[in-house]
Point group: C3
Chain length 331, copies 3
C-alpha cells in the first residue's frame, strides 16, 4: 500500500478493474497483469501509477511522464510516451475522478478530524510552543519551537508547522506542510477541499482532493483568506511571498518567491506564478495560466492569458499597461 | 398570534394602529374594524396580512396578491386588486420597515442566541450525528442522521438540518432550513441579517429580517462565504447548486438547481437565478435582477440587467459574449 | 516613557542613535543633544517626535508639522518647517520602518494576547453585559452596559467597547476603540495588522502597526469583514456608517459619517472618505486617495483618482457617471 500523509490510499488495484470501472476499451493483452499503485499528475507519476491528460497545454510534462497508464483522448495519444497504456473513456475528467475516488474514497469531502484534542497536556507535548486558549490539535502534528498558535485555532492531524511561525485565531490548517517563520492571520482557512466536481444533474460528483497546501519559509497569509489544497498536485506558496486579507487561492495554484498579492485577489485553479510578481487588489486570475517572473498586475485586473516574464498589465481583460493607458485616454 | 419558526410575531394589530404608526391618510370607513395578522411579501401574503409595493417590476404578483392591505404609492394603486386597502405613506420602504418592526421587534439585529449549550449530552440527544469539539447547539435544533458538525461550530435555535450533511468548523447557522446532503465548508456564516436599512442621518433605521435561508438537497457552500437571510421572503439555494469560497449572497436572493458559482462572486439583494447557471469568479450581480436558466456569465463580469434563458455574457457591464469578444479585439 | 494603549513605546532615544540606525548624514551640531520621544505621522507629531515625508501630496500637513525631526528626501525639504531637522536616508520608508521598530519592537506581528481568560467571573466583572459561550476577554477591557458579545468571540487586552453594542460570534477585536451602539456581525476581524512591509528578497521587513481601529457611534460592520489597524495613524469609521459583508479596509483608511458601503468592497491603504458616501458592491478604492462628501460610486468600479464632493462615478477605472453611460452606449 502506498499512502500520502493525509489520505489513505486503498490501492494497488489491477488495471483491469480500473478499465472496467471507467468503462473504456483497451487492448486486453496489455492490461491483463498490470497493477496500478496510485493516481498522480503527469509530472509526479512514477512506474505503476496512472495519470490523465485532457489538454494539449501540458505537452512538456506529458511526453516525459513515467506513468504506466494514462486516461486521455485518442487525439492526444501522440503526446504520451509509446510505452504508456492509453485508456479512452467517454469523459476524461469523470474517469479520472472515478479512479481517484477508487484509490482515495475519503478525500472528496472534508471529513472532520476525529482526533482533535484540547487537553491540558499541550504544553507538555509542545514545551517550546505558545498556545492560546481552546486550541484543538490532531494526531501526529509537528510544531517547531518558538511558534505561536492563537486561541480557538484548529490544526488537524498530520499537519507539520515549522519554527517561529505565528498562527492567528480562528484559523483552520489541514492537509498542509508549513515551513519556518510563516505568519497566518486570524480567520484564514488553509488546506480546505477545492471547488472541483463533475457537473451532473441531481448530484454533482466531487473530485477527491488528495493534494496538500505547502507554505514555504517566511510566507504571510492575511486575515480571512481561503487556500484550497490541491486535487492531484499541491497548492504551493514560495518563500517570502505575502498575501493580504481575503485572498482566495483555488486548488493546485503555485506561487513563486517574493510575490506580493494585495487584498481580495482571487485565483482560479491550477495557475502558476513566477517569482517577484506584484498583484494589486481585487485582481482575478483565470485557471491554468502561466504567469512569468517579475510580472506586475494592476489592481482590479482580470487576467485571462499567460503572461511572459517582466510584463506589466492592467485592465479587464488585462492588456499591456501602455495599451491600457492609451485606451483609457480615448474614453 | 401568528409566528414563524425563528421570530415571534407580536401581532395581530388593528389596521387603525398601523395607519397611525406610518402617518398616512386612508378612507376611515374601510379600516375601522380590520385586524392585521402579519406582514408578508406580495406573493406569500394571505387574507388579513399587510404587504408593500414600491416598484412596477412586480406586477405579476401584485395583481394577484391576497393581502388585505398594501403600503404603496398612489400611482401603483392600479397594480393591486380593488379589494386591497391601499395605504399611501410618505416613504413606502420606511413605512414597511416601521410595520415590520411593530410585528417583529427583535429581527432587525442578530440578537445572540441565549439557549446555546455545549454539554456532554449532545451525543445522547443526537446519537446518529458526529460532533467535533466545542460545538454549540441551540434549542429545538433538528439534525438528521449521518450528519457531521465540525468543531467550534454554532447552530442556533430552531434550525433544521437534514441527513448526511457535512458542516465544517467555525460555521454559524441561524434562521435556516437545511435539507439533506448539504456541505458547508469552514468559516461560512449562514442566515445572518442582511444589509437593509432606511438611511437616516445620525441613526439609520434597520429593516427587520424575518426571512430564512433555505438550502435544498445537495447544496455545497465553500469556505468563508456569507449568506444573508431574507428580509420578508427567504434566501434560497436550489438542489445540487455549488458555491465556491468567499461567495456573498445578500437577502432574498434565489438560486435555482444545478448552478455553479465560482469564488468571490457577490449578489446584491433580491435577484433570482434560474437552473443550470454557471458564474465565473468575482462576478457581481446587481439587485432585483432576473437571470434565466442555462445562463453562462464570464469571470469578473458585472451584471446589471435581466438575462433571458441561455444567454452567455461577459464584461463590465456584462454584454453578450460575442459583442464582448468583438469589443475586446478593437482595443 | 510615552506609550499608547496597545503598544509599549521603548523610547525616548537620542536622535544620534536614530541617525546612526538609519545610516544618514546630518549636520552633527543639530543632533548632538536631542532626544526623540516617539514616531508619529506629520499631523499628530509633537515637539520631540520624529515623523516622515515621502510624497508631495501632504504639503498641507507637512508645512505645519510640529515634529522635531523628519525623515525625508532632499527635494521635499522645503515642504517642512525650517526648525524641523531633516534626515535623508537612502530609502525613506525603510528608515521610517527601522525607527518605528526601534520604538515599538512588538507591533510588526500580531503577537497573541497572553492575557485572555474565559472564566466564570465574566458575569461578575461585567454585570450589565450579555456574554455568549466561550468568550475570551483580555486585560483592562472595558465594555459598556447593555452590550452583547457573541459566542466564541475574542476581545483582546485594552480594547474599549461602548454601550449598547452587538458583537457577533467568531469576531476578533484588538487594538480598537469602539463607541456606542456599534454592531459587528459574525466572523469579522477588527484591528489586525495591515499589509505593510519593505520588500526585500529572502525576507521582507514588516512595518510596525501601532495605529488603532476607531469605530464611532452606530457603525455597522457586516459578516467576515477585515478591518486592519493603522500603521502610524488610525483606521477610522465615522458615526452611523454601515459596511456590508466581506468588506476589506486596509491600514489608515478613514471613512466619514453616514456612509453606505456594500458587500465585498476593498480599500487600499490610507484613503479617506467624506460623509454620506454611497459605494456599490465589489468596488475597489486605490491607496492614498481623497474621496469627498456625498460621492456615489457605482458597483464594480475601480477608483484610482481623488473625487471631489458630490461626484457620481462608475467604471474601471471610474469616470463620471455620464461619461460612463455614454461610453457604454458606444459598445
Amino acid at each position: 500500500m502506498v499512502s500520502n500523509q493525509f489520505f489513505v490510499n486503498k490501492g494497488p488495484f489491477p488495471l483491469k478493474k480500473i478499465v472496467s470501472l471507467i468503462k473504456c476499451n483497451t487492448d486486453p493483452v496489455k492490461i491483463v497483469s498490470v497493477n496500478i499503485s496510485d493516481i498522480k499528475n503527469l509530472y509526479s507519476a512514477k512506474k505503476n501509477d496512472i495519470t490523465f491528460l485532457n489538454s494539449n497545454k501540458y505537452k512538456e510534462n506529458s511526453l516525459k511522464t513515467k506513468a504506466t497508464a494514462c486516461v486521455t483522448l485518442p487525439n492526444f495519444s501522440n503526446l504520451l510516451p509509446k510505452r504508456c497504456i492509453k485508456l479512452y473513456p467517454n469523459n476524461v475528467l469523470f474517469a479520472a475522478t472515478q479512479i481517484s475516488k477508487l484509490f482515495y474514497p475519503k478525500a472528496d469531502i472534508d471529513y472532520p478530524d476525529q482526533n482533535l484534542t484540547n487537553n491540558k497536556n499541550l504544553k507538555k507535548k509542545y514545551p517550546k510552543v505558545f498556545f492560546g486558549e481552546n486550541v484543538l490539535i490532531g494526531k501526529n502534528v509537528l510544531i517547531g519551537k518558538n511558534s505561536f498558535v492563537g486561541s480557538n485555532t484548529i490544526i488537524e492531524s498530520n499537519v507539520k508547522i515549522g519554527q517561529g511561525c505565528f498562527i492567528g485565531s480562528f484559523v483552520v490548517i489541514k492537509n498542509s506542510i508549513i515551513f519556518d517563520e510563516v505568519l497566518i492571520q486570524d480567520g484564514s482557512k488553509i488546506g480546505v477541499k477545492g471547488f472541483g466536481f463533475i457537473p451532473s444533474p441531481k448530484k454533482n460528483i466531487r473530485t477527491p482532493h488528495i493534494g496538500r497546501v505547502i507554505l514555504y519559509n517566511g510566507v504571510e497569509i492575511g486575515a480571512n483568506c481561503t487556500i484550497d489544497r490541491g486535487s492531484l498536485s499541491d497548492t504551493i506558496i514560495g518563500e517570502n511571498s505575502f498575501l493580504d486579507n481575503q485572498v482566495h487561492l483555488a486548488h493546485n495554484v503555485k506561487i513563486g518567491k517574493n510575490c506580493m498579492i494585495a487584498g481580495q485577489v482571487g485565483f482560479a485553479g491550477s495557475s502558476t506564478l513566477g517569482d517577484n510578481v506584484v498583484i494589486g487588489g481585487q485582481v482575478g486570475i483565470s485557471g491554468h495560466l502561466k504567469i512569468g517572473n517579475n510580472v506586475k498586475i494592476g489592481g482590479g485586473s482580470g487576467v485571462v492569458n499567460d503572461l511572459p516574464d517582466n510584463s506589466q498589465v492592467m485592465g479587464y481583460p488585462a492588456i499591456p499597461l501602455r495599451a491600457f493607458v492609451k485606451f483609457r485616454k480615448k474614453i
